[in-house]
């Protein structure tokens, strides 16, 4: 459970509880006792059974929800201030593209809101479309794309303005194996090149092990941090996927997931 050495800290979640529908019949404690510090430049995965509060934790970091108890700081500021400063980019569990904007215009939306010029926007969205392997789809409308393609567009949208913090909620869930592996390597490349911090929600043990420097294993009802697995596999390549050290780590994560506190 090593915490990152003093260097810059990206996210601090301290003593957070999140209760939905307080004082009503369907009150749910989604998260309890969450303490988590994420260093700048880290790649952290959140893994846990469905309904354990992964999306909720991500939303708390993004100030799309406020904690019932406790506080969240992002880059030394309250999460609220960080949101207003547009310090993070978020990929939601559902692609959430705007029907009325063409694919390129969807990717350019955050740039537009930041006042980028048309030329710069067009250049960046073309670059992003290349990155997510959809170069010829900029002029299409989202409804003309498959679910996995839409999800890739939403990833491109989140990456377009190179945020210091990337919050990703099962971004590769809808992708086929080949595309998923490609996107994983691309994401790691971007992460290395830009030094961005990534908080990545996933259901997949191997995905979390392959991508992250730390895997946070959550347990359900109420959602708590069961354990944190450090993963030190060096620079990942496609060969890493067949590395015995990788399998050993994946097994460790899987064991943690199965450990007491796991749902059901």
């Amino acid at each position: 459970m090593s915490q990152p050495v003093a260097s810059e800290v990206a996210v601090v979640v301290s003593g957070v509880h999140k209760v939905f529908n307080v004082d009503s019949a369907d009150e749910v404690t989604a998260l309890s006792d969450i303490d988590l510090t994420i260093g700048a430049g880290e790649f952290v995965s959140l893994i846990g059974p469905s309904g354990c509060g992964k999306s909720t934790l991500l939303r708390l970091i993004g100030d799309l929800l406020t904690p019932s108890v406790g506080e969240v700081t992002v880059f030394g500021k309250p999460a609220h201030a960080a949101r207003l400063d547009q310090d993070y980019g978020m990929v939601f569990q559902h692609a959430g593209l705007f029907d009325w904007r063409r694919v390129a215009a969807n990717i350019e939306l955050p740039l537009e809101l930041r006042g980028w010029s048309r030329v710069d926007r067009a250049a960046r969205s073309a670059e992003m479309l290349e990155l997510v392997r959809l170069p010829e789809f900029g002029g299409h409308y989202p409804r003309q794309l498959s679910g996995g393609m839409q999800q890739r567009v939403s990833i491109a949208r989140a990456l377009s303005f190179q945020p210091k913090l990337l919050l990703m909620d099962e971004p590769f869930g809808a992708l086929d194996e080949m595309t998923r592996e490609h996107m994983q390597l691309e994401l790691l490349r971007i992460w290395r090149e830009t030094g961005t911090t990534v908080v990545f929600v996933t259901h997949s043990v191997s995905e979390s092990t392959f991508l992250s420097s730390r895997v946070v294993v959550l347990s359900a009802r109420p959602g708590r941090i069961h354990s944190i697995v450090d993963v030190d596999l060096g620079d990942r390549t496609d060969d890493t996927r067949e590395d015995p050290a990788f399998f050993a780590k994946a097994t460790e994560v899987r064991e943690a997931l199965r450990g007491r506190g796991g749902a059901r």
Binding site: Q86, L113, Y141, G147
Partner: protein, 267 residues
């Protein structure tokens, strides 16, 4: 797409022409008297005989309908925008508007005559405005407020303000709702204008040509006036469809993923 549209016009044309033929045949075959139900061919004769008068009347009634339509749309959209901004206003006003919309507003026509004068066009226009306003307001307000929470969350993650959310999300989201309302109110505005004209307003409009022809048992002339009114209503309906097409190009493309909260797209 365009070709689909045109071939799509084929079947209704065939059925329409066949229907007119049947009508002609039945009136002729059963010897139905012309004042009960004139044959389409005699309606056409009256139409061409009285063409200058009917054309003028269609034009004037059309003007009432269109001016009331535009005013009602502007008022409905503006109020929808205002209520979206102030949630409590929206929650108070929308159920009320839905209730009023369910009442027979045309019944107000004689009262509007007392309010706005019986000789001018104002009271007729007021009837059209009152009819058009409610569906436009109700639908547009729904489209502006029934935005998917994910889309609002995304905009919040960009620290977008209410104004930006209105421009980037609410208004485009409301367009299909507005278009549905427009399809209803465009032809409705002609009906409203004619019914209003039954009760007063200047002479030589479609409405009073129908009433006076009927009073003199000139049903064939009344039918000719109805034909003109139908043409005006169809024209407005076609204009509404055209507007819908040009304003929402993304709905024209073929695609599997129908959006979550937008009203059904006609095929």
């Amino acid at each position: 797409m365009i070709r689909n549209r045109l071939t799509g016009l084929g079947p209704p044309m065939v059925v329409g022409v066949a229907g007119l033929g049947l009508w002609e045949g039945i009136v002729w075959g059963f010897g139905i008297r012309e004042f009960l139900l004139p044959r389409p061919s005699s309606i056409m004769d009256r139409l061409s005989e009285n063409w200058p008068m009917l054309r003028q009347a269609g034009w004037e009634t059309g003007r009432i309908a269109v001016s009331g339509l535009v005013a009602g749309i502007v008022a409905g959209v503006l109020l929808a925008l205002v209520t979206t901004r102030f949630r409590t206003l929206n929650e108070g006003l929308t159920p009320l508007a839905v209730a009023v919309n369910a009442t027979p507003i045309v019944a107000l026509a004689p009262i509007f005559n007392a309010w706005f004068g019986i000789t001018g066009t104002l009271s007729n226009q007021a009837v059209v405005v009152a009819i058009v306003f409610f569906p436009v307001f109700i639908n547009t307000a729904r489209g502006l407020t029934e935005v998917h929470p994910d889309e609002l969350e995304l905009m919040r993650s960009y620290a977008a303000g209410e104004w930006t959310i209105l421009r980037e999300v609410r208004i485009p989201n409301a367009l299909p709702f507005f278009a549905n309302a427009l399809r209803v109110v465009a032809p409705l505005s002609v009906i409203a204008a004619i019914v209003a004209e039954y009760f007063g307003g200047p002479q030589n409009r479609i409405g009073n040509i129908i009433t006076s022809s009927a009073a003199f048992a000139r049903y064939d002339v009344a039918w000719a006036a109805i034909a003109v009114a139908s043409a005006v209503g169809l024209g407005l309906f076609a204009a509404a469809l055209l507007l819908e097409r040009v304003s929402m190009p993304w709905r024209l493309v073929d695609g599997g993923s129908e959006n979550h909260n937008t009203p059904g797209r006609e095929k």
